[in-house]
Amino acid sequence: MPYDCELEDELKALDGVDYVGTEHHYCIESSKNFTYKGSKMDNFIDIAYTISDEEMYLKFYDEENNTVDGVEKGCFYSNAAFIQDIDVSKGDIFELSFDDNKLSLKYMGVIKCPTIAHEATASPYLLFDAEDIKFIGEHKKNDIFDDKDVFVNAADTEKIDKLVEKYENAYVMPRDEIKEYFLFDMVAAYIMMMISAVLMVTVFVVLRFTIMFTISEEYREIGVMKAVGVDNGSIRSLYIAKYLVISIVGALIGYAASLPLGSMMLDSVSQNMVLECGSNALIGLLSSAAVVALIMLFCYTCTRRVNKLSPIDAVRNGETGERFKRKSLLRLGSSRLPSNVFMSINDFVSAPKQFGIITVIFTLCLLMMTLMSNLALTLKSENMAWLFGAAECDAHIYDTTYFVDAFVDYDNYKDILAKTDIMLEDIGIEGESGMTMGFRYEVDHGDKTANEFCYVSKGLKNDLVTADEGTMPQKRDEVAMTGYALDDLDAEIGDRVSITIGDKTDEYIITGKYSSFLNGGHGIFMHPDVDLVENNNFQSMGVNIKFDGDPDDETKDEYIEKIKKAIDSEKVCTTSELVKTATQMSDTLNSVKQMMMMITVIVTLMIVILMERSFISKEKGEIALMKAVGIPNSSIIAQHTLRFVISAVLALIISTAVLMPASNAVMNFVSSMIGDVTGIKCNYDPLEVFFICPMILVGVTVIGSWLTALYTKTIKASDTASIE
């Protein structure tokens, strides 16, 4: 093995260290080293790494969450990053080739392990049999990207920190920080939880109303029972028992349905991580019991009024002595509104609590749809490029083989940019190119030392990297740092830090603080005049190209196709596509958005139908009276429909007002979990968030309430005779 074992030896010699294990990673430079179904692969950006089944020091799990103990010769497992965007089945054959040396491999499925989890810059990891690893080691081109993870069990991590500081290209990650690998998956899970919470609130509100209205429907019977001497406790226990049976049956059905549904939802967010599923059944049972308890609480509070009612009040359908209890707020005589509109608005303001809750639910549903739309759009927008160290420009070459030389020898970046400019000229495109590169260096501030990634942009001027506080470096001895990097060094703007680049240590003044997703938000941005020195820890999003003359999208696509042909690689894309590839969340959020649209339609219909049905039942007397005095069905239906439309329109106005502040807050919250990021302004699609989504809500409301309001036709004018 070509690895130096000095670090492991020193670690083993430390007091309190009881275990040291090394997982070596060979690099496979490009996706093009793999052939699948006769074509070279081009689905992943980064370098792929290998793991030998003899060095599995962490637990690896397969798709069914079973432990993987070893790999047969000629077979391999991969993480999700390797198979992204391609349709692969277990048993499929891949070919790994290094020039003329080829190895046929059978795909065994996805493996999950914290250190190879899917995140913004996750590389493909492949688990091989030790014999196959030897083949790779013998035939691969270079070892510049080879690395290793050393797993240490120790009581005192400070000693390890001090030891590792000596090694330029090594850094320590405590066990707790490993969970950060799952941030993107966690974000998807959090969003799923948020949606579930909103749904639960909505369902409980509807449930409470349903119970309340059902009981108020039966006040007459309650009155009769009270009149014949049945005590309050017995009457309430009748209803509580009835709802107990209904809720237990409902909870059991819900529990049974939750098992496959829960697994489906868990699967959607646990592609890369193993979630504890053993206690799901118990949690499901406890949740079902909690739902029953909550329904009982609703029932208890809803039946409390039985105590307050005299028998005759109850017979009068719950009216307490006074014939009516609501107050008129608007005046028909002084209003210029059409009578149906007036009546609807008057009903709305006369029952603010009921219609207010409906409005809040509509607002939440609409906000969930539009928020998802904004987040999905932002996570693939060009505005996010700078957070990944890529300039907002027209095209990006992210094929590692194209720019790998810059990491073998830093000065090669000049050749890479030069060959790019020549290539552009050759294919008749006017433009310029640039690269943002980062290497990890030792940075000192006072008694604090940290190994931080230091980035420099060459070629194109990266104007988009702006400082959240202070300014970006204007002179050679100035740097801007992320908040996390400042924390690592216990430094602040205005302080001086020493950065050791190669053999040379220079002092730099911190002039600003900026945001970044790269390297978990730990980073330093240097002046373009600074020259870096290559080492084994590097980062780059590739070569950025800006076309001259501000061409339209069609021309840009045409140019990108030309570049693909010129460099013989499919890995050329727009900034938006690059961000989408980097975050990998945009598609997930788009799916969530579509799910939210469906949920919104269902929830809105459910609310509208249940509530309108309850209103009709409660207002049967008024409807009959209106019919008796000659108000046509169409007017009554219009009035009932309009009340819900007013709620929907109000929800639309509220959600429009809060959408952008809420989107920015959520986006910044989500981003702060991934990296050190503040001040993101969300993108939005005006057509979608201000027209399509609201129209879905209003359309469903109109259709749902109109269809339900048709039920008023069954109430006859002569029903006035049977109304108490």
Binding site: S328, A628, V629, I631, K716
Partner: protein, 256 residues
Amino acid sequence: MNTVLQAKGLCKTYVVNKRQNNVLKNIDLTVSEGDMVAVMGPSGSGKSTLLYCVSGMDRVTAGEVIFNGKETASLNDKELARVRLDEMGFIFQQMYMMKNLSVLDNIIFPAVKSKNNKETRAQTEERGRALMKRLGIEDVGSNDINEVSGGQLQRACICRSMINSPKIIFADEPTGALNRSSSDEVMNELLKLNNDGTTVMCVTHDPKVAAKCSRVLYLVDGSIVGEKVLGHFDSEEKSLRDRERELNGWLMEQGW
């Protein structure tokens, strides 16, 4: 006198649990302009059903109802609703009103909904106030309906029934939920309306109320078994007592 309302061979049958219940049987009835007709009879005799059938609030099973020259069976629900809105007024035993509207708004609501009404909202409101003043409830216009007495509310219902200047007012036990004093006030108002030319058809159990009407129909088991013509009431106390005595005697003969 012109005929406002005519029923010929009117039958109404309800089917409950596959059993036929003939509530009204072959009723012939004519109400002329300016009449004040009381419909009396024991409970379950079909009084209210007769009122609902002739007023178009319910469909008849057989026979004809001709209102103001129009056969109501030939009208669809929308046309029938329009007839009820523009040409009929209704008063019920319970003072049904819309709880989200003030007393005055409840009164003017049918006028606001009427397509025949070409007035501005302010003019309609003014007319509503004038009606309230006429019935002595002008002070409660802006009140909620839970802030006024039963008598005031029933007078407000009369105002509402009058707002579109109907040809006939149907009253289903209009004093049934009121005390004697309020009952007298309400009946006096109906009498005034009748004296001004509005036709009134009123279902009642109260001979004192019926005694103020010009004609009394007596229903038993869905058939009109008798009719007493009392003539128009001139509102003098002596005459009322005579009419009551005369009516009570007749009712006794009918089996009251």
